[in-house]
Amino acid sequence: MAPPKSSNVTSDKSKNSKNTTKTDINTKADLIIQNRKCANDIFDIFEHLQAEKDRDVICAIGACSRIFCALMGRGDLFVGPLPEEDSLLTGKHSADEKYGIFMRHRYNDCVKLLLELMANSNHQVKEGALCTLMKFVSAEGQRPLSSVDWDCHYNFPRETLKAVVCGLLSEKEDMALLISRFQEFLEMDDVRYYVMGLVSDSVGRVTARAKEVMLLPIYQNNVFALLSNINMPSQESELTNFLIQMDGQRAFERMWLGFLKHKLPSNMYKKILVVLHESILPHLSQPTLMIDFLTAAYDIGGAISLLALNGLFVLIHQHNLDYPDFYKKLYNLLDSSVFHAKYRARFFHLADLFLSSSHLPVYLVAAFAKRLSRLALTAPPAALFMILPFIYNLIRRHPACRVLIHRPDAPNEPFDDPYLMEEDDPALCHALDSSLWELQTLQKHYHPDVSKTATVINRPLSEQEDDISELLEFSTYELFERDLQQLQKQPVALEYEGVSQLLEGSGKVLGGFFSLE
C-alpha cells in the first residue's frame, strides 16, 4: 500500500482541496477503526471509492485497506455463514454480532468495489486495488472468515483469490502490466498453487463458453502473461516437501496443457515456444505430453518451426523422442528468410548441435553445406560472418565433404551446377556432385572481412573448428560499429577526382536516372 499513499502525500500537499478530501478520508477511517459508533462513515469512503478523481479513489483504497485489515486483525468481522443483511434487524443477535455482520457485509461490498476498480483505466488505481485485495487475502488466511472445521487446518481464502484471478484474466483488457505486478505474489508457494488451479478452471470455463467460435486473443494474452509469470522453483530446493511439490507439478502441467490444447494465434505460438524449453518443459512431470503440441508447431513452418525446434531438441535429446525425417524437415526449413529471422541465432545454434553428430551421412551434410552456401548469396553481411564458419565446420567434421571445395580428380572442364535447389529431399539434390562456387562468389563480397573469410577455401582448411557461438548473435549494426572503430593507421585516402556536381562520380548511375529536383 505504500506507493499510492506516498504519492498522495506529495501531491496533495500542493492542493488544498485535495488535502481536505484526503484528511477527511483519513480521519473517517481513523474514527471507524477507533469507534464502532462511526461505522456508518464507511459509506462515505465507499462513495470516494467510486469517485471520478483517481487521487481520491487511491486515497479511499488505502483507507479501506487500513480499516478492514485492522478490523480483521481484531476479529471484528463476522465469522461463519453470513446471515442476510435484512435479517440483521429482525434476527436476534447481540450488538457485537450485529456490528460484525454489518462490517462483514461492508467488507464484501468493498471487495466487489475493488474488483471493479481492477478494470479501471488508471494503472495506479488498478495496482492499489490489486494490492489491497491481496492484503485481504493474506489477512483472511490468518483469520479465516468461514467457519473452521479443524483448528489447525490451514484454510486458504480461495474465493477471494478466485475473484482476483478472474479479474486479472479479463477478456476485454490487456492486463499484462498488472499481471507483472501480480508476479510478486506468485513467489509465494501457496498463492502459486491455488492460482494454477484457478487458471486451469478459468481456461476451461472460458473456452467452453467461447466454443471455439472465436479466438479470444486478449484473454489468451492475459492467460499467457499470467502463466509465463508462474516460475516453478527449481526441484532441488523443494525436495523437503516432496508431496506438495508433486502436487504443484501436476497442477502446473494441467494448467499448461489445458491452455495449449486450444487453438492459438501464431504470435502466441511464438511467445510460448520462446519460453517453452526453459520454463515449461523442465517442470512438467511428463514432458512427452508436449509432443503433439510441438509437432503441430513444427509443421506450421516459418519462424514457428524454427522455434519449435528447440523444444523438439529437448524431447529428442532427453526424452528419447524418435522423429521421422527430422533432418529432411530441418533441411527444408532453410530458406532465404532464415538469415533475416529474429531467431536466427537460436536456430543456428540448434542446427549446429544437430549437425555436430559424426554419424550423419555425407550426402546429408553436403546438402546442408550446399544449401547454406546457396542461401548465403542473399544473406546480409552479419549472417555471412556466422554462416561461412558454419559451413567450414561442417566440412571439417565430415572430411568426405571436402570434395565440395576441392575436387582435383574431376575433368577440369566447366559444367553446370548439378545441385537442385528445389529438391526437398537432401538425398536427391546432388549436392555431393557440386562445388561451393557460392563461396567463391563471396570472395568478391563488398565487405572486406567477409571477403577474407571466403578466401579460406582456396587452401586446405585448418584442423581446428571455428567457434561460431560468439558470431551467432552478431548483428549488422555491431559490424557497422566495429568498422567505424577500426584504428586508422595511415592517413585517410581521399578521392582524387575533383568534384563539381552532386550527381557525377563513379559510373554516374545516380545522375543517369535521377534529376536534381
Partner: protein, 875 residues
C-alpha cells in the same frame, strides 16, 4: 752550456741518422720476431725489433727522470737557474745569448755614470731616438696609435708574467751589476715600474699630439702655398678625392652581388603536350594506387609510406615537379622548412596552427601580422585582392615572395580552382555575378562557431551567393593567416555537412544549392582529411544508431530521408569507394546494407528512395566490382512490386519484401491504357521525400518510370557481376520474374526494349564454372642434412654480440694491456733503481776502502817516519 749542447745535438743528429740506419741494418742489433703462421692480409707491427736501441732509450729516459727524482728525494732545497730564458726550451740558444748580452748592456747603461761620455749613447729628438726616426718613415696613423696603446712593453710583460720571475731576475741582474748597492724590496721595484710606464705613456701621447699638430700645420701651410703653385696640382688632389667614394660604391656593389640570392632555376614553360603527359602520368599513378587499395594489399604492407595527393597540390599536374622542388630546397634551408612543415601540418589535422606562421619565415611574419590587422579593422577590398596584398608584402624582400607563392597563394588558388569548373561556364556571367555580390555582400565573414551561425550566414542568399560567402569565409580564415583558423575551418566542414543535410530535408529539397556546395565540401575535405572523415563517420553512426533503436523495437525501420541519401552520395564523392577497406566507405556500405534489409517499402516515395539507394550501391561498387547480395535481392523486391498476379511464383523474395501483403502492388499500374502515353524522364530526387501526383495517369507514369529505372539497374548489375561464378544462381529469381511474371504487352517500345535487354542480360550464362580446387601450394621441402653455410664477411671480428658488448670487450682488452705495460714499467723502474742503489753503494764502499787504505798508508808512513826518527835519536 747551451751552445755546445746545441752543437753536439746537431752533430748527433747527423751521426744518429747515420747510426740508426746502421743499427737497423746491423744484423746483430736486429731481432726478428718469428711468427708461427703467416696470415694473409694481416699487417704486423712488431715483426722486427731493436732491443738494444730500445733498452738504451729506456735507460736514458730513466736516468733523466727517475734518477733525478731519486737524487732529489730527501732534499729540501732546490737550485733554480734564473738566467734569462734558461727554462725556455723554445728559444734558440743563439737568441738566448743575444738577449742576455743585450740585457747585460742595458744594465750597464742604466747605471748612471754621468762621467761616461760614451758614443754609445743614443741621440734623441723630443725623446725619440734619431736613428729610429731615420729608419721608419713616420706615418701619423690614428690606427697605429691605438695599436701602440694596446701593446705592452716587453719589460712590463716580463715583470708581470712568468711568476714575477722577470722582476726577480732583474733584481739579480742588478745585484750582479752593482754588488755593493743596497738590494731593493719587491714593492719598491713595482712602484718604480709603474711610474716608469706611466711616464712613458705620457711621453708617447704628448709626442703624437705634437706631431699631429705639426703635420696639420704643415698641411695648411702647404695648401696656402699650393694655390700659388702650378695648376696641375689641385686637379690631382681632386681626382684623389673623387676616387675614394667611387671605390666605396664599387665595394657596395661587390658586396651586394656577393649577398644577393643566387638565381633559382625556374620552371621551364611546358608545352601543352608535356602538361597533358604529366597529367596522364599523375592520373595513372593515382589509378594504380587506387587499384592497390582495392585489392587490399595495403592491409599487409601498412608500414610502407604512401604519398597521397597533398592538399597543397595545385591539381595541375605538378606533382612530380613538386617533389623535385623539395629536393632542391635542401640547398636552401628556408624553402625546405616552409614546404615540409606545411605538408606536415596538413597531415596532422589536430596540430595547432602556431607552426604555420613560423613556416613563412621570420621576415614574412611581419607582413602576415599586418594582414591580420587588415582582417580585423578593414580588410582588403575583396577576397581576390587579398592575394595581391600578399604578393605586395612579398615584394619587400625576395625570399618571402617565394614563400608566399608556395604557401598561401597556391592553396588559395587551389581553393578557387575547385570552384572554377562550374563557374567558368560563363565567365562574364560569373564576373557580373561577382560584381553584384560585391555590391551587396560583406567581404569578410567570421568563421561560423556553430551550425546555426552558418545557417544564419547563408540564410536568404541564392546558391551562387552562398558559394561566394563560403569562399570568402575560407579565404578570410585561411590556416596560414592566423593560429586557430585551421580548427575553425575543420569545424566548418561539419557545419557545412549539417547544412547540406538540412537543405536536403527541407520541404522542397534545395538540391540545386546542395549541388553548388559540393565542391566546397570537396575542397575542405582535401584540406582536412582527418576532420572530414571523422565528421562523416559521425553522421553515419548517428543515423545508424537511430535506425538500430527503431529496429530493435519494431524489427524494421523506415527508410531515412533524402538528407541521408545525399550524405551517402557525398561519401562516394569525397572518399574512394573502391578501397578494400576504408574508414568511411566500408561503414557506409554496411549502413546501406542495413537499409536494404531492414526498411520495407510502403509507398511510392519509398520506392524512389529505394531506387536512389540502389543507384548509390551500384556506384559504390562500380569500380571495385564487388558483390552486394542485398542489392540484387532489393531489385528483385522492387520488381516484385510490379507483378500483377502474385499466385504461383517460382521465386522467393527476401525480407524486407513480402510475397503478398498490403504494400505489394505499389508498382502495378491501375490502367493499362496509361502505359501508352508514357515516356521516359529522369525521376526527381525529391520524390524520395514527397510526391505530388495529381491523378492516376501521373501516378501510373511515375510507376512505369520507376519500373524502367529498376530494369536498367538490373541490366547494369548483371553486366557488373557477369564474371562471378554464381552469376546464374544470383539472378535466377529475377530471370524467372522477368520472363514469367512481367509482361509488358501494350507498353511503349522503350519499356519493352528495356525489359528485353534486362532479360537477356540476366539470362545469358557467361562461362560455366569449373570445379573448385585448392590453390597449388609449393611442396614443403624435405629436411636435409647438409651443413648450414654462413658467409663470413668480416674476418677477425667477433661476431654475435652487440655493439655495446664489443665496445666493452675492447675496453677490457685495452685495460689489461695497459695494466701489463704499467706493471712491466714499474718492474723495470725498480730494477733500475736497485741497480743505481747498488752502484751507489759500491762506489761508496770503494771510496771508503780507498780512504781507509789511504789512512792506513799515511799511518804507516807516519809510523815509519816516527820509527826512523826514533832510530835517529837513538843513534
Amino acid at each position: 752550456m747551451g751552445k755546445p749542447q746545441k752543437k753536439r745535438g746537431l752533430a748527433d743528429k747527423v751521426r744518429k741518422t747515420k747510426t740508426s740506419n746502421e743499427i737497423k741494418n746491423n744484423p746483430f742489433e736486429v731481432k726478428i720476431n718469428r711468427k708461427k703462421f703467416d696470415i694473409l692480409g694481416r699487417k704486423t707491427k712488431h715483426d722486427v725489433g731493436l732491443p738494444g736501441v730500445s733498452r738504451s732509450k729506456a735507460i736514458k729516459k730513466r736516468q733523466e727522470t727517475l734518477l733525478k727524482e731519486y737524487k732529489q728525494k730527501s732534499k729540501s732545497n732546490k737550485f733554480v737557474d734564473r738566467r734569462f730564458g734558461e727554462y725556455d726550451t723554445k728559444m734558440a740558444p743563439e737568441d738566448k745569448i743575444l738577449k742576455r748580452f743585450a740585457l747585460e748592456r742595458q744594465r750597464m747603461q742604466d747605471k748612471k755614470n754621468i762621467y761616461n761620455l760614451n758614443e754609445e749613447e743614443e741621440l734623441t729628438h723630443f725623446g725619440q731616438s734619431l736613428s729610429e726616426i731615420e729608419k721608419l718613415n713616420d706615418v701619423v696613423d690614428s690606427d697605429s696609435e691605438s695599436e701602440d696603446k694596446g701593446l705592452l712593453s716587453a719589460e712590463f710583460t716580463a715583470s708581470h708574467f712568468g711568476g714575477g720571475g722577470g722582476l726577480l731576475r732583474k733584481k739579480n741582474a742588478e745585484e750582479e751589476g752593482d754588488g755593493d748597492g743596497k738590494p731593493r724590496s719587491r714593492q719598491e721595484l713595482i712602484e718604480e715600474l709603474i711610474i716608469k710606464s706611466k711616464q712613458e705613456k705620457h711621453e708617447r701621447q704628448t709626442q703624437k699630439e705634437e706631431a699631429r699638430v705639426l703635420t696639420e700645420k704643415l698641411d695648411q701651410d702647404w695648401k696656402s702655398i699650393q694655390s700659388l703653385m702650378a695648376r696641375n696640382a689641385p686637379k690631382s688632389v681632386c681626382r684623389v678625392e673623387e676616387s675614394k667614394p667611387k671605390a666605396e660604391e664599387y665595394d657596395i656593389m661587390v658586396r651586394e652581388l656577393g649577398f644577393e640570392m643566387k638565381a633559382q632555376p625556374s620552371e621551364k614553360m611546358k608545352t601543352p603536350e608535356e602538361v597533358a603527359r604529366e597529367e596522364r602520368d599523375r592520373l595513372q599513378k593515382l589509378e594504380a594506387d587506387r587499384q592497390r587499395r582495392m585489392l587490399g594489399d595495403m592491409e599487409e604492407e601498412t608500414s610502407k609510406k604512401q604519398s597521397y595527393l597533398s592538399a597543397d597540390d595545385l591539381n595541375d599536374g605538378f606533382i612530380l615537379d613538386k617533389e623535385d622542388r623539395q629536393m632542391l630546397s635542401y640547398q636552401d634551408g628556408k624553402w625546405n622548412i616552409a614546404e615540409e612543415d606545411q605538408n606536415a601540418d596538413d597531415d596532422d589535422a589536430d596540430d595547432a596552427d602556431a607552426g604555420d606562421d613560423d613556416d613563412d619565415g621570420g621576415n614574412n611574419d611581419g607582413s602576415n601580422d599586418g594582414e591580420d590587422g587588415d582582417d580585423d579593422d578593414q580588410h582588403g577590398e575583396s577576397g581576390s585582392e587579398e592575394e595581391g596584398s600578399d604578393a605586395e608584402s612579398g615584394h619587400s624582400d625576395l625570399d618571402s615572395e617565394d614563400v608566399v607563392e608556395d604557401d598561401d597563394a597556391e592553396v588559395l588558388r587551389k581553393a578557387e580552382s575547385q570552384a572554377k569548373p562550374h563557374c567558368t561556364l560563363s565567365k562574364e556571367e560569373r564576373l557580373a555575378g561577382q560584381e553584384e555580390a560585391k555590391a551587396e555582400l560583406p567581404y569578410t565573414f567570421p568563421a561560423p562557431e556553430s551550425f546555426s551561425d552558418l545557417r544564419s550566414l547563408l540564410h536568404g542568399h541564392s546558391a551562387d551567393k552562398q558559394c561566394v560567402i563560403l569562399e570568402r569565409i575560407q579565404k578570410c580564415n585561411h590556416p596560414s593567416l592566423a593560429a586557430g583558423n585551421k580548427l575553425k575551418l575543420q569545424k566548418m566542414f561539419g557545419f557545412l555537412l549539417e547544412y547540406v543535410g538540412d537543405l536536403a530535408t527541407r520541404c522542397p529539397p534545395e538540391l540545386g544549392t546542395v549541388n553548388k556546395l559540393v565542391p566546397h565540401l570537396y575542397g575542405l575535405c582535401q584540406l582536412f582529411p582527418n576532420a572530414a572523415y571523422l565528421a562523416m563517420q559521425n553522421v553515419l553512426s548517428d543515423s545508424a544508431h537511430d535506425m538500430e533503436e527503431v529496429v530493435e523495437v519494431k524489427g524494421r525501420a523506415a527508410l531515412p530521408g533524402l538528407g541521408m541519401l545525399i550524405y551517402l552520395k557525398i561519401v562516394a564523392l569525397l572518399f574512394p569507394t573502391s578501397d578494400f577497406r576504408h574508414p568511411v566507405t566500408t561503414p557506409a556500405l554496411v549502413y546501406i546494407s542495413q537499409l536494404l534489409t531492414k526498411c520495407p517499402i510502403t509507398s511510392l516515395e519509398e520506392v524512389t528512395g529505394g531506387l536512389i539507394l540502389c543507384c548509390l550501391t551500384l556506384e559504390y561498387v562500380t569500380l571495385s566490382q564487388r558483390f552486394v547480395p542485398e542489392l540484387v535481392s532489393y531489385l528483385l523486391g522492387i520488381l516484385h512490386l510490379a507483378v500483377r498476379d502474385k499466385g504461383s511464383l517460382g521465386y522467393r523474395v527476401v525480407p524486407p519484401f513480402r510475397l503478398t501483403g498490403r504494400h505489394c502492388d505499389l508498382l502495378v499500374t491501375s490502367d493499362a491504357a496509361h502505359a501508352e502515353s508514357w515516356s521516359r524522364i529522369p525521376l526527381p530526387m525529391s520524390g524520395a521525400q514527397s510526391l505530388k501526383l495529381k491523378d492516376d495517369l501521373e501516378r501510373d507514369h511515375y510507376k512505369l518510370s520507376c519500373l524502367a529505372t529498376c530494369l536498367d539497374l538490373v541490366k547494369r548489375c548483371s553486366s557488373l557481376y557477369k564474371s562471378l561464378p554464381s552469376f546464374t544462381q544470383i539472378f535466377w529469381p529475377i530471370r524467372i520474374l522477368l520472363s514469367k511474371h512481367i509482361s509488358l504487352e501494350g507498353h511503349s517500345s522503350v519499356l519493352q526494349d528495356l525489359h528485353r535487354e534486362a532479360l537477356e542480360a540476366v539470362s545469358e550464362s557467361p562461362e560455366r564454372p569449373s570445379p573448385l580446387v585448392f590453390e597449388k601450394t609449393k611442396p614443403i621441402p624435405l629436411r636435409l642434412f647438409t651443413p648450414k653455410i654462413v658467409e663470413v664477411l668480416d674476418f677477425g671480428k667477433k661476431r654475435g654480440s652487440s655493439k655495446q658488448e664489443r665496445e666493452k670487450e675492447k675496453l677490457k682488452h685495452k685495460y689489461r694491456k695497459e695494466l701489463k705495460g704499467a706493471l712491466r714499467e714499474i718492474r723495470k723502474d725498480t730494477k733500475f733503481l736497485a741497480r743505481e742503489k747498488l752502484t751507489e753503494i759500491m762506489t761508496r764502499d770503494a771510496e771508503r776502502k780507498r780512504k781507509v787504505k789511504e789512512l792506513f798508508g799515511s799511518l804507516s808512513t807516519q809510523e815509519g817516519e816516527w820509527k826512523a826518527l826514533k832510530k835517529k835519536k837513538r843513534k
